[in-house]
Subunit: 440 residues, 2 copies
């Protein structure tokens, strides 16, 4: 049998441990598939003597991940330390410079330094694989890099954060508030103690940056991404969505427009019968639109030790087989600068929820402001909430009536201008809720 | 720039023409991605002078596909002639023997001779790629061969025939009969004049044979597949399914059991909220279950010129890049014989629709026969059809009352024995309808 692929594993958290277990369990199958075994020969982690769910004593211990990365005994480094800087970055750079293949699950590192690292990998003729960095167990990186090379992509969008999708699913199904669902997600371990990275859309933005680069051959640029989180979503929005035939999802969307590539992360109304709308709970999904071809959707686990480890092992299997493609599907030097389509030129339908003052002329004022921006309405729902009629509202001289508007395609700019005018006219209370609609 | 990959194209139908168009349209992108152009240099088809939607005069014409296959000017053969024997088989064999890579969309050829052809390709160190042979534009072959190498598959199932899914979708949505929907599908070009290959499940079986081999590393054996078509499905079944929380789909299922690999194609009740149940019309989908990982589902176009051509070009791009894996993910010599799990040992829930004779003792007789086979019932629905009460039925001494039973998990054998006994007892009219339930 050929020489084994010798792996150094840096990081022994949930994913690192699962890599060890899956490699042991799948050993024979991997030999059959790759023609040689894949073996972890050395490990590195922050704490050597922590109790682990495998026998760490079987593996050579290397205290410093960068020392592991240049260890002559290893062919490939698996980096599951995490973080865009510090030991993870140093270990990956060291391994590539030493001519060793790297497999990483580190989306932050790739979003920040992906193109430069890809160039280093190419210069040294080694693989830099990162299937696990986006949508865990869904093979979306390979699909974009190799599986759909015949297609010309026009749009890619997806549910890339399980925490947010879990919260939105619970809010919808159990009519709970955002705050209550977040607490529940934290209790179940689906959300971090500091949830801002997930719920503000930053996690989705990093993953979208990687997908957009793979799909459109552009340089990774997380700063080109417009980002909005889900904290403002209210049960009233989910109810209205359901009534109007939509569901609200936090989507990452990258789309080719006449002006460049629009990259955005925001709560989105998607048609209830679309594939993406069916994706509930912590599940992830990505839809790919290409010229002349019906959409392709991949649905699966976005996180979890075994799903992520499985993606890492698929990347190792490619290395063991000697399969190597440029990390982003084309040479790093051929990745083009992103021409960022400005968000104010975004075009699409909009959902707008206003709290209107119930007095003569309000409807006419709102209608006039929309018309001035050439915004046409597909539907208007105005309804006194049960029991609210006549109830005095503190600090409000008139009753507040919820009004829900669905616009036909218009521009971000027009919507902002119209709503600013409506607020100046003092016919609404507070800040209108605006959710973009994505055709799917 | 490196030398182009020179392609001989055998077959100029819808897919062949789309390959030419997509290669032209995607030329620059493919150069960026593969480091060299992909160029059709010679073509072959049955009729030289047929009018085509591209300028055939630009390409060298080779009358005999096998002569094209061994032409020294080509690096790779694209075979889109079709058929398990004849010129397609000869051309593919000739190309591989001449050390040329082959890309084919020919499921019949692969189902019949896949393992032998893979062995020839491996012996000559060339690629045999067939992404387009299963589920058209969905990159399921690459996903199983490379994308999920870390996973240990336990089950793979899917909607692999757009014609059948279109018919079942129309039947459900418009409450039409099978015969009417088939006629409509034929009118729209979704079904052949002789539809038996599609509607009897043979097309699905060929595709399932390929997927099972990729997933489980077993030799392809279409004869190991149990197959039932959709012609017996009645609107009454679809209505009952909807009421009970299911939808009926023609599935191909390959599943690891204690006895071996069960491979089967049949109309199937799937839970209405499962990913596979959402797939409507001509769309295809495949779900992959693996140890310890949540299911992964791929949804997309199962046919169509551009979708199929896109898959062919992705295969060519791998060849242009020098990427090569064994055609079935492991060396042909390491593919194991299928241990066929016998269908009579299949275990699962069952939907049974009977036409019971409305006379005392019928229910007791049916219940006793099921109990004798240790079959427990999850639900029983018995209903006099509107207006049928008292209506004399020709040749029927008693009224016929539809009874619908949903069983808990039991075996195929038990269901057949129980129903045979019920028929011998003469408490039902005609042949009971039986549809297997698949947990999803």
């Amino acid at each position: 049998m050929a020489q084994p692929l010798k792996v150094g594993l840096a990081g022994l958290g949930t994913v690192g441990s699962a890599v060890i277990h899956l490699l042991e369990r799948g050993r024979d199958k991997l030999v059959a598939r790759c023609g040689r075994p894949i073996e972890v020969v050395a490990i590195s982690a922050r704490s050597r003597h922590k109790k682990r769910d495998f026998d760490a004593g079987k593996f050579r211990w290397v205290a410093d991940p960068s020392a592991l990365a240049r260890d002559p005994a290893i062919d490939a480094l698996v980096e599951v330390i995490g973080g865009a800087a510090g030991p993870a970055k140093l270990a990956v750079e060291t391994a590539l410079a030493a001519g060793k293949a790297v497999v990483t699950a580190n989306k932050a590192l790739l979003a920040a330094h992906g193109q430069r690292l890809a160039a280093v990998a190419e210069r040294h003729g080694v693989a830099l694989n990162f299937e696990a960095s986006v949508a865990g167990g869904i093979p979306i990186v390979k699909t974009l890099r190799e599986g759909l090379n015949g297609a010309t992509f026009t749009r890619i969008y997806g549910i890339l954060n399980g925490t947010c999708n879990y919260i939105l699913t619970r809010m919808e199904q159990e009519r709970l508030s955002f705050a209550d669902c977040l607490k529940e997600a934290q209790r179940l371990g689906y959300a971090e103690a500091d949830p801002s990275f997930d719920i503000e859309g930053h996690d989705t933005a990093q993953k979208l940056a990687i997908l957009a680069s793979l799909a459109f051959g552009t340089k990774i640029d997380p700063r080109a991404i417009y980002s909005e989180g889900i904290a403002s979503i209210a049960p009233a929005d989910l109810n209205a969505a359901a009534e109007l035939g939509y569901r609200v999802k936090l989507l990452g969307v990258a789309v080719k427009t006449a002006e460049g590539i629009e990259q955005r992360v925001h709560p989105t109304m998607v048609p209830k019968d679309s594939a993406i709308a069916q994706v509930m709970g912590v599940t992830n999904a990505v839809t790919i639109d290409a010229d002349g071809i019906a959409p392709i959707t991949l649905v699966g686990p976005g996180a979890g030790g075994e799903a992520t480890a499985s993606a890492i092992i698929a990347d190792l299997a490619d290395i063991a087989r000697g399969v190597r493609t440029p990390p982003f599907g084309r040479p790093a030097a051929r990745m083009t600068a992103v021409r960022k389509a400005p968000m104010q030129h975004h075009e699409g339908g909009y959902y707008i929820r206003l709290l209107a003052r119930d007095r003569p002329g309000t409807a006419a004022t709102i209608a006039r402001r929309l018309a001035q921006q050439k915004i046409s309405l597909e539907s208007i729902v105005q309804r006194h909430e049960a029991g609210s009629r006549g109830a005095a509202q503190p600090g409000r001289s008139e009753e507040a009536v919820p009004v829900i508007l669905i616009t036909y395609a218009t521009s971000e700019d027009a919507v902002h201008k119209a709503l600013a005018a409506v607020r100046r006219d003092r016919v609404v209370y507070g800040r209108p809720q605006v959710i973009r609609i994505e055709r799917a």
